[in-house]
Amino acid sequence: MDIEFERLENEAVRDTIRLYLERVEQLYTPIKQWLTTENLVIVSSRVSTIERQAIYKVTQLTVKTPEEETLAEIKATSSKVIVGEGLIEIEGWFGKETLVYMTDGGPQIMKPSRNDRSKQVRVQMYKGIDIDGWYWIENSRRRRMHLVDQALFLELITFVSDYEF
């Protein structure tokens, strides 16, 4: 995959970004199908993503109604994120929702075991991560993540645009 870099801090970052953009494309394919089944129009465009370590071009999907009203923009905004491996943002006039790529069940922490407070056990920081993929954090205090599927994705479009399916 050829990536248009405007700025790149070092070569190690290049591989991270390549993997990230491949994963973004992997989600874009079902996204286009889900939206097309709902009679929505998708327009692709190239925009710049600005990160601390690089500036590069990505594909942005603009979701519109058949009447040309823009509902949301879907964009790859960050290859580096604190608890996961990349972000996709869905932004509409009403709000913004974020998807994170999670691998290996997500980050883990040591906590005192419930049965024996003097022993430590390793637990997952977030609930709901079973396979590698794109997830949505329902509530960062409850720490539950949901794998993105058609139903959830369309709900997120509603969240950011107030559009009722």
Binding site: I50, R52, W93, F94, M110
Partner: protein
């Protein structure tokens, strides 16, 4: 010492984000009501006309004495959201750093018990002032080697957050090449 100092900041953030959402809905409602009123047909039923007038009046009342929100473009609103996000990153980190420094200053109070007592107070005062200026990266390393043995990756996450915070605090400097 408050054991969950970040909660009120986080809640304030959620309130600010949601307040912006509700405001956008109000502006849309008000604009639609104005349009509906202007395109009213004389032949409409009395009830429809009444409802139109009431909606328009409601829109005007909701935006009474608000001079900015109904004039902003979508782009301004999106930018405002980004500014709010950045402000809260800074606020959350500042609160977190304050919490860490308070923690070390309180632990340092043991110095007040040393002898000679003449030295104790002055020593503590000096130490307390010095702790105020401890570098955040060094505090995190200190914790990594002590209280976070076994959970070092949490400190690494905190360091990542600090780097992001520093980038935001420096105006998202496009030429920021240093890692720390």
């Amino acid at each position: 010492m408050n054991s969950e100092p970040l909660i009120p900041i986080w809640e304030a953030y959620l309130v600010a984000v949601e307040a912006l959402k509700v405001s956008k809905r109000v502006v849309t409602f008000s604009n639609k009501a104005k349009q509906a009123l202007h395109s009213l047909d004389d032949n409409e039923a009395e009830m429809s006309k009444r409802i139109c007038f009431e909606k328009h009046k409601l829109g005007l009342n909701l935006l009474n004495r608000c001079t900015v929100i109904d004039q902003v473009t979508d782009l301004t609103l999106i930018n405002s959201s980004k500014v709010i996000d950045d402000l809260f990153v800074l606020s959350l980190w500042a609160t977190f750093e304050r919490y860490l420094i308070d923690f070390f200053q309180v632990k340092g109070e043991k110095i007040r018990e040393i002898l000679p007592s003449d030295l104790a107070e002055v020593y503590y005062e000096h130490l307390s002032r010095e702790i105020e200026y401890w570098k955040p990266m060094e505090i995190l390393d200190l914790l990594k080697r002590s209280l976070f043995k076994g959970n070092e990756q949490l400190i690494e996450l905190a360091k990542d957050i600090l780097k992001y915070r520093n980038w935001v605090a420096h105006g998202r400097n496009l030429f920021m090449l240093k890692q720390g």
